[in-house]
């Protein structure tokens, strides 16, 4: 059964009183669950969190399902998100995505056999002037070449 660490539970307690209503704490608490649950939010984690927050499970699910940053399926240790919106595509983002999928032998959105990487295409990440770019877990990597992107991912493994 999933359970937050003591520090995680402390975080939830603080968030519940941080905003004008408890409900506003759902997003930050889901982020905390995702962080402590290997990058995704499982159905049992939702049940646990709604119990901990004392809020209806439906409210938590509603938020979980609305936003793209919450992963509803397991992801690799490195979640590689390549922007494939307009300015990035003009600068080779689709070719880069294909190169990464081939190099790490993984289909889009799936976890590689060794559990290390998931590669997904995402919408504009506000890095259009330094295209192409990718986000790996919490960090941006910009002005990429095929070589620099592969090197970055390998170094993070």
């Amino acid at each position: 059964m999933f359970k937050l660490s003591p520090a995680g539970e402390e975080f939830v307690k603080k968030e519940l009183t941080r905003y004008e209503t408890k409900r506003s704490a759902i997003i930050p608490c889901l982020f905390k669950v995702q962080e402590e649950n290997k990058g995704w939010v499982s159905p049992e984690a939702v049940t646990y969190l709604s119990g901990l927050m004392d809020l209806p499970e439906a409210w938590v699910n509603e938020v979980l399902n609305f936003y793209t940053m919450f992963n509803k399926e397991p992801v690799g240790k490195l979640h590689v998100q390549v922007c494939c919106n307009i300015s990035c595509c003009m600068n080779g983002a689709r070719e880069l995505t294909k190169h990464l999928k081939d190099t790490f032998n993984v289909k889009e959105g799936e976890v590689s056999a060794d559990g290390n990487v998931t590669i997904t295409r995402v919408e504009c990440l506000g890095s259009c002037g330094t295209a192409p770019m990718m986000q790996v877990n919490d960090n941006y990597y910009e002005n990429l070449t095929h070589e620099s992107a592969v090197k970055t991912i390998k170094e993070l493994m």
């Binding site: 004008e20 409900r23 997003i27 919106n85 300015s87 259009c128 941006y140």
Partner: protein, 429 residues
């Protein structure tokens, strides 16, 4: 020519910290503002001609004037959700000068008599979040936030709220829903947020750049602020230039500067051997301009409007002659279909259909009459929905087809791109 008002010190790493910011005059304008009559600040912001930098260009002071006159609690929300494709200026401001935003926000909050504000920031912007968290802690420690700010008797609390990935949360009523812990879906206006916003209370939503600009209206006065820009488009603005230029990046220019200067001089112009083909002037939602139109337009609200488009968020996406317009429209239609919140039928169905039809063309599965379908669907999506996302999807579709129809016709007939000489598979991988 660049005119650096907001961005004067962005290249100095020390400007990120409170000490470095103060050394360069930081928070002096807050001290000045706190000695003014809040009503006078609202009047000055009106007179300055500052228009919202988030996309719609609505006069900031006029919006503030819609707040009820009574003592009812009201909130200030900073829109830092920056999601309009092509836009990356707010991120620069929050990373290079977090205190500039905080100072602008405290002044604005004082003017509208708000004691609580939030910066709603998109969740992917981790560097901006870290930068703002550090700056907020510094500001609290220094007595710039909290009770009795700088001995003025004015109290204000500010916090950060981190979004979780949804373009639609940049729309102000969706942002309010999201902040309340609900699904980030827009609400029908009226009531406007200034009357009924966050938790049903009067709420002002302004973009990062709009709020930071207020500081310079206090610093330079109305006359000083109006020294740059045009009568109806006052001041300077940051433009995010991306796509096929030699030097993409954020550039601050006086409104009214020619687009030619911005693209060809400041952003380094086209790459060797390439020609300008088209420009999306204000973010992916704004109708595309041909090269000729772009080269005779100025970067102000009126000039861009005279070409049937919008200055929007200031995201200038530059396309050279190597781009296939059908392919580019496919990328945009995929985006809007993905981001529609689904509440309104014309938007939910329309974005789906547009995405389908453009991709049918790309895959060689369309017929000539499908082009009329694009026009028909788009027209049916305009002005019929709760928020402007539906229009934002329809406008690029209509303008791409109107201005580059030959490329769409060629693709349908030949099953490949007129420009690239290849089909969908080779372009999409």
């Amino acid at each position: 020519m660049e005119v650096k008002i907001l961005s004067e010190h962005y290249d100095k790493p020390s400007y990120k910290s409170l000490d470095g910011y103060k050394e360069l005059g930081g928070y002096e304008d807050l001290a000045k503002a706190l000695k003014m009559d809040p009503k006078q600040i609202v009047e000055d912001v009106k007179a300055s001609g500052l228009r919202g930098r988030g996309g719609a260009g609505f006069p900031t002071g006029v919006k503030w004037g819609f707040l009820p006159e009574n003592g009812e609690p009201r909130y200030l929300l900073c829109n830092a959700d920056e999601g309009e494709p092509g836009t990356f200026k707010d991120r620069l401001m929050m990373e290079a000068a977090p205190h500039q935003l905080i100072e602008g926000m405290i002044i604005s909050a004082f003017a509208i008599k708000s004691h609580k504000s939030y910066i709603y920031i998109r969740g992917e912007y981790n560097d901006s979040i870290r930068s703002l968290e550090k700056a907020l802690a510094e500001a609290y420690k220094d007595g710039l936030l909290g009770k009795n700010i700088l001995g003025s008797g004015f109290d204000h609390d500010m916090d950060i709220y981190v979004g979780a990935g949804a373009y639609i949360c940049g729309e102000e009523t969706a942002m309010i829903s999201s902040l309340e812990g609900l699904k980030g879906q827009p609400k029908l206006k009226p009531p406007f947020p200034a009357i009924e916003g966050y938790l049903g209370k009067p709420t002002i939503v302004n973009n990062v750049e709009s709020l930071a600009s207020v500081k310079y209206i206090i610093r330079d006065g109305v006359e000083g602020y109006r020294k740059h820009g045009t009568e109806k488009s006052a001041g300077t603005k940051l433009f995010s230039v991306s796509g096929n230029v030699v030097k993409p990046g954020n550039y601050e220019i006086a409104l009214g500067t020619s687009m030619k200067t911005l693209i060809m001089d400041i952003a380094g112009g086209m790459k060797p051997g390439r020609k300008l083909k088209a420009v999306i002037p204000g973010g992916s939602s704004t109708p595309i301009l041909t090269a000729d139109e772009a080269m005779s337009a100025n970067m102000d609200y009126e000039s861009i409007a005279s070409f049937g488009s919008f200055l929007g968020s200031g995201a200038v996406i530059v396309l050279d002659d190597s781009n296939c317009m059908v392919d580019m429209l496919g990328i945009l239609m995929h985006f809007y279909h993905h981001e529609s919140c689904g509440q309104c039928t014309p938007c939910r169905e329309g974005t789906g259909w547009l995405n389908k039809v453009v991709h049918a063309i790309l895959k060689g599965e369309a017929r000539e009459k499908d082009l009329e379908l694009i026009n028909g669907i788009s027209n049916h999506m305009m002005g019929k929905t709760i928020c402007a996302l539906s229009d934002a999807a329809a406008m690029p579709a209509l303008s791409f087809l109107q201005k580059f129809r030959d490329e769409f016709e060629y693709f349908i007939k030949e099953g490949q791109s007129k420009v690239r000489g290849v089909g969908y598979a080779q372009m999409h991988h």
